[in-house]
Amino acid sequence: MQLREKADAGGVDKARLVEALTRVLPAGALMFEREALRPYECDGLTAFRQLPLVVALPTTEEEVAGVLKACHELGVPVVARGAGTGLSGGALPHPDGVLLSLARFTRILRLDPHARTAVVQPGVRNLAISEAAAPYDLYYAPDPSSQIACTIGGNVAENAGGVHCLKYGLTVHNVMRVRGLTIEGEAVEFGSEAPDAPGCDLLAVMIGSEGMLAVVTEVTVRLTPKPQFAQCVLAAFDDVVRAGEAVAAIIAAGIIPAGLEMMDQPATAAVEQFVHAGYPLDAKAILLCESDGTPEEVAEEIGRMRAVLAASGATDIRVSHDEAERLKFWAGRKAAFPAAGRLSPDYYCMDGTIPRKHVGPLLEAIQGMEQKYGLRCINVFHAGDGNMHPLILFDANQAGELERAEAFGAEILELCVALGGTVTGEHGVGIEKINQMCSQFSRAELEMFERVKAAFDPAGLLNPGKVIPTLNRCAEYGRLRVSGGRIPHPELPRF
């Protein structure tokens, strides 16, 4: 979707803007020729594309402050961007604005193995932190599937999770401090390297705020001792509802697995075709349940997991014997998105989260919707936290399929909200789910989000038009659309 494309934008004098930014940025840090802007026209959500007026690539906090001050003075919107791997269009440029790339902020400023903290610049890749901490047997726990490319600044903006967040938490649980700049170019410290911080918990508000409150220039993360050992249980079920009940039984038994993932039969069939993970193809659903820790701890926990899964009616239980087998179990799960891409020219990925007890009923409802809309849907998800990723398969070249897929997705997300859940568990609202916010929040709540934004950004210039829908937008729904071969970062796993 092309939102708008023009050389000069209404209300903003591009020449004046370029002049002002040239004064605060060194040579090579400002781009305004159309072809140079092209790589920035979208993030991981390619269905929405938009060229910014200019792209700024500062290297120092002072330069970022200069850009922000200039934009504040001229009333120009600013959209911050990390690696551009986000799946909800949070980094979609503003047609009249500056796209502020933090890609050059790639330094790890300090790593203190004794205090288990690292101070990093926002453009440092998620995995690079764990790599730097590895010699001390430490790592940064949140592991979004894009971790080889996504940056910590983007993780802060989206409150990124990963397959291990049931046990190890999300970004909000692992970031101690964020230094940011307001749109006025003023530095603010959120959180601290000590427990808590004076005043209210503005750090929690900053995390997951999708670049709408301040621009992140430095982050202190907590490092976690690396578990010595991990093992994975693969359990098969002849019924999806029973598999959902097994998830509840594991939690009821007092176990917090390091990862607890579920795939339905169409999903296992799809991945087995080209990963050969050895999944039982006759099972209606499979669970992957991982334990990590010291070898003694894992042995005890795996024993407990096995017992619960057996009592829950698993038809087949396998425990990984070595690291190669554990990775093989996971390979299938991690191949689910690419498998969807092979099955179908296009697919939609949903990100609703629901209370675990509704997993079975939601899957059954989705089966019914497949009939209703005449489209297939395969289901993979983070069962431990009830975070569902239904992948609706369609072909945009067949008349009406796109519309049916959109309606299908809308019905799933509305059901998630009706079941006491949320429209997005980890991908963010961005531009993609902005209209669906209307089904989850009341008018008064949306107005309060506006006021919270204004408390940080009174001028309303940081990433305007994202996350919070205007009330008259609340009629339509947008969807993540991924078309085969057109996704950016095709090398990244997506799970």
């Binding site: 001390y136 005890e300 429209v423 989850q440």
Partner: protein, 362 residues
């Protein structure tokens, strides 16, 4: 909406119109905390009851006036707990007061602070609007994280009506160990251990004795205990000990007076990076959270305590006692204070709720 909530709505709207202040209060067990406030008391205790609890969801939702002890008993009956071990400071403590105060106990070392467990809130703002933020699921990135903003806000943004909290299973096994060691040695050891995959769930150092608690799978506790050495504590005694730490019923946290009814020394809560060196301030001190929390009973002037905390990369609050008319929390930098003021304006434009409890001007 219940009749009670409707009454509060009218009460809040009338207060806003008349320029009246309301002092939000549950059981009053944390009246000592924060700055002294005036205003008509709005007692939240009638709005009580657990509205949803399913152990397999690891979530409990309770109305703000629910007694904290009642909630914890309900969880204990199902082998679960509030992992942040909130202090009660009295039998009357409520869930709402617990979240508004934002205080965590010894287990924060492993489990993280209270705010990590806040999944959703229903609140009433200063316009009398009932608003819901967050929800009852573990992962939720729809909109700003307003729920956690309310945790530890001391009621300055609005009335907590209901909260949803993540709960965790009670550990399968626990064991506490004691070591004789000095302050610097304790700080060093705790940080060394923190960097290893050990199931440490609490630590307390005072008067040359370091006590640590291990929690988790029986095999893990056994292995860690063998590795660390130290002197194992009797199980029942250890449980009493950690409860006393949590409730500040042991020295030097317990209020002690030279004579009954006499003045007590101010108690400072000094949060520092866990590996920060010894405080070197006069007074009686104890250390929690792997070195990150230093409690100090001292008559030193506020400025001296704050300067030292700041120099160590931390911050200091006058937790109990002392002058509660002036600022008791660490002063906020100007840019942060400006955001706080605008947030207060956003939620409570007429300044009805607990004015000044957190900071003058909020």
């Amino acid at each position: 909406m219940s009749e009670l909530v409707r009454q509060w709505q009218e009460r809040v709207r009338a207060a806003a119109a008349d320029g009246e202040s309301l002092q939000l209060r549950g059981g009053g067990t944390k009246d000592f905390y924060g700055r002294r406030v005036s205003g008509t008391v709005l007692d939240t205790r009638a709005h009580r009851g657990v509205s949803a609890y399913e152990p397999t969801e690891l979530v409990v939702s309770a109305r703000a006036g629910t007694p904290l002890a009642e909630l914890e008993q309900l969880l204990a009956d199902r082998g679960q707990m509030l992992a942040f071990e909130p202090p009660h400071f009295g039998a009357a403590a409520t869930v709402g007061g617990c979240v508004a105060a934002g205080l965590s106990g010894p287990r924060r070392l492993a489990a993280g602070p209270l705010r990590d467990y806040v999944l959703g809130v229903t609140v009433m703002d200063g316009r009398g609007e009932v608003l819901r933020f967050g929800g009852q699921v573990m992962k939720n990135v729809a909109g700003y994280d307003v729920s956690r903003l309310f945790a530890g806000s001391l009621g300055v943004f609005g009335i907590l009506l209901e909260v949803s909290l993540k709960v965790l299973p009670v550990p399968f096994a626990e064991r506490s160990l004691r070591f004789d060691c000095g302050e610097s040695d304790a700080i060093r050891r705790l940080n060394d251990w923190g960097g290893q995959p050990l199931p440490l769930s609490a630590s307390f150092w005072y008067g040359g004795v370091l006590t640590v608690r291990l929690s988790g799978a029986a095999a893990a506790v056994q292995a860690a205990s063998a590795k660390l050495g130290g002197e194992p504590c009797d199980e029942a005694e250890a449980a009493r000990f950690w409860l006393a730490v949590r409730e500040q019923a042991c020295a030097p946290l317990a209020q002690e007076t030279a004579q009954p009814g006499g003045p007590t020394q101010p108690l400072w809560r000094i949060a520092v990076p866990s590996a920060a060196p010894a405080l070197e301030l006069t007074g009686r001190q104890c250390i929690e959270w792997g070195g990150g929390l230093r409690w100090l009973r001292t008559e030193l002037p506020a400025q001296a305590v704050r300067e030292r905390a700041h120099a160590l990369g931390g911050h200091a609050s006058l937790f109990a006692g002392g002058d509660r008319e002036s600022e008791v929390f660490h002063p906020l930098p100007q840019a942060s204070m400006a955001i706080h003021r605008r947030l207060k304006q956003a939620f409570d434009p007429a300044g009805v709720f607990n004015p000044g409890r957190l900071q003058d001007g909020l």
